[in-house]
């Protein structure tokens, strides 16, 4: 265990350093995505303003504000797209560089992703979170989120991270078969923002669709931790969603291992 840490820790710290080196691009990314959140904010406020009910999809107007920004914070910290790196490695043939070393490719990718998580948590994450809490108390007149909820939220986020990267690893494996997945990466982004509840809270979908979502890993990625943060679950529900998250971590881990085995069997390293 300690040895594993020693091997993979450098991958995380390198990624962190790399992020800092390219911080210009990163600030632009924050600006653009945060801009999207504000558009969402104004849209929803207009919807609530013209709606007859004060509660839509189980969320009050104030809760919706928290939802929009917590989804942003959670998504930006948890959803680290490692399939981008995989496709890069495949196209440039640098995957060979990883394969000729006695390291686990998936572990090295996940470690790299963790480095990015730390950075994203520190740079926009915490500040927006604190800002949101202040706004909540001073403007919206809600009370500060309780410690239990925050801790449960963080625990859920950790599992969300693993669900996302493990899923994304499986997705990235497609690159080995088609060698070019840029278009699919775009489609994935769009589809996920929908399926994870980043665009619209999942509670807005019809009953049937929600049932389907229950059997997919996507709701466990962002929606679950944010709803925990909002305190929307009863104790029994809480246990269930956390257990479901844990189950997805295991399932996707095993699935990824199986796919990786197949991939290395018919792996083609380009170039040379």
């Amino acid at each position: 265990m300690k040895k594993k840490l020693r091997i993979y820790l450098p991958f995380a710290s390198n990624e962190l350093k790399r992020q800092m080196a390219y911080k210009g691009a990163f600030y632009l990314f924050i600006f653009i995505s945060l801009f999207g959140s504000f558009i969402q904010y104004f849209l929803w406020m207009a919807i609530y303003g013209s709606a007859e009910n004060s509660v839509l999809g189980g969320l009050t107007r104030e809760e919706m504000v928290v939802y929009i920004f917590m989804v942003y914070v959670t998504g930006s910290v948890v959803m680290i797209s490692i399939s981008d790196w995989v496709s890069d490695d495949v196209v440039k043939g640098t995957v060979a560089m990883n394969l000729i070393k006695p390291i686990d490719y998936r572990m090295s990718l996940i470690s790299r992703a963790m480095g990015q998580v730390v950075y994203r948590f520190l740079v926009p994450g915490v500040f927006i979170w604190i800002g949101l809490e202040i706004y909540k108390v001073t403007v919206l007149g809600l009370s500060v989120t309780g410690v239990t909820n925050v801790l449960l939220y963080l625990a859920s986020c950790i599992m969300s991270f693993f669900i996302y990267v493990l899923f994304d690893f499986c997705f990235g494996m497609v690159a080995f078969f088609t060698t070019y997945i840029f278009g699919m990466l775009m489609a994935k982004e769009a589809l996920l923002s929908f399926l994870t509840g980043q665009l619209i809270p999942l509670s807005f979908f019809p009953e049937v669709v929600q049932k389907v979502f229950d059997y997919l890993p996507f709701s466990s990625m962002v929606y679950t931790p944010v709803m925990i943060y909002l305190g929307k679950y009863s104790d029994a529900q809480l246990c269930f969603v956390l257990a479901r998250q844990a189950a997805w971590v295991v399932i996707l881990y095993v699935l990824g291992s199986l796919i990786w085995k197949q991939v290395t069997k018919r792996l083609v390293v380009l170039g040379g």
Partner: protein
């Protein structure tokens, strides 16, 4: 003298790699046709190759462009699965036990780096130290050695992306050797390097081989690499092994031609001389060229059939010879011949 224990390190048996790719048709119409057709073209990049390599050998693996060298190296390093056959490296099947195999090998792909592009070289080395579990003492000792032969200290703190090609290649070689691998694969390690750096790299490879008994397999298009480093060469052509043996044997069998150039006083006098007939051999065994402007007469002959003095005598009967130069056929010539005509001779 110590007796070296002869031990087989690499065993490649009947290895074949077939690439199957969808058939492509030209033009836009072709592209659409390609969408609906299920036709495949397959190409045997490596075709039933077998050989064994013993500990401490430096083997040159050569062949023309697209012959299948890199493909073979990839299979031996475990990053490409053979279609048929298998190879064993140190008793490990590299494709089945990729990670175990990776501990024993060092690889340099000349065209790409295995270092972390954005990091200073020193950090790449620190990471590699952890990955390969190199102890502090070993690390220190190895670094002293590598600094000595590769002079890494000049750019040790610079990010890899800022290194020149030659510096990067030295860094890559150093990185491949940090964990003292038993087997070192070098795929075109001297590609694009200047003469001095080339020389340094060759020296480094030699020293490492001597000091640690590292087995080295190297592909190259540079004849100099082969002449200086390899005791044994394997030549492949279109995926098939066509020669496997020592360098001397290759030269002996296929470098039978010799060249003698004479500067003569009156070239017009020898212009019409039929040397082959005069010496009683066939035209293939002895041919002649006259350069009137430079006043040089060049005779190419079979060294098993004729001697230089015989030719000199025949020429001197007609005109005065002022200067003589004798050349053995170079390895480059032999290799060129082989690439051009394939190989008809038996394996040595």
């Amino acid at each position: 003298m110590k007796l070296r224990e002869e031990k087989i390190v690499i065993e490649v048996s009947h290895i074949t790699k077939e690439f199957v790719s969808p058939k492509k048709y030209p033009g836009l119409k072709g592209a659409i046709k390609g969408l609906f057709s299920n036709e495949k073209v397959s190409k045997k990049a490596v075709d039933d190759i077998s050989f064994t390599i013993e500990a401490g050998e430096i083997v040159g693996y050569i062949g023309s462009n697209g012959a299948g060298k890199s493909t073979t190296i990839k299979m031996m390093t475990g990053i490409l699965n053979p279609t048929e056959g298998r190879c064993m490296v140190n008793g490990i099947n590299p494709c089945k036990q990729r990670k175990e195999n990776a501990r024993n090998i060092g690889v340099v792909f000349g065209q790409r780096t295995q270092l972390w592009w954005d990091l200073p070289l020193s950090e790449s080395f620190t990471i590699l130290k952890e990955i390969y579990d190199v102890s502090d003492e070993d690390y220190k000792e190895r670094m002293v050695f590598l600094n000595n032969v590769l002079e890494l200290q000049d750019f040790f703190d610079r990010p890899v992306r800022t290194l020149s090609l030659g510096q990067r290649m030295r860094a890559d070689l150093g990185a491949a050797l940090l964990h003292n691998p038993k087997v070192l694969y070098l795929d075109e390690p001297t590609i694009g390097l200047d003469l001095v750096v080339k020389d340094n790299i060759r020296k480094a490879i030699k020293e490492i081989n001597e000091k640690y008994q590292t087995t080295v397999i190297l592909t190259t298009h540079d004849i100099g690499d082969i002449e200086e480093l390899c005791s044994r060469i394997i030549i492949i052509d279109q995926g098939k092994k066509i020669y496997d043996g020592s360098l001397e044997a290759l030269k002996d069998t296929y470098g039978t031609k010799r060249k003698v150039s004479m500067e003569v006083k009156k070239p017009e006098k020898v212009e019409h001389l039929n040397l082959a007939e005069r010496l009683g051999v066939t035209a293939q065994e002895c041919s002649m060229e006259v350069d009137k402007e430079q006043k040089v007469l060049t005779v190419t002959f079979d060294k098993h059939k004729l001697q230089v003095p015989q030719i000199m005598n025949a020429v001197m009967e007609l005109t005065e010879v002022q200067d003589v130069k004798i050349q053995e056929t170079e390895l480059a010539e032999i290799v060129k011949q082989i690439y051009n005509h394939g190989f008809t001779g038996q394996e040595a």
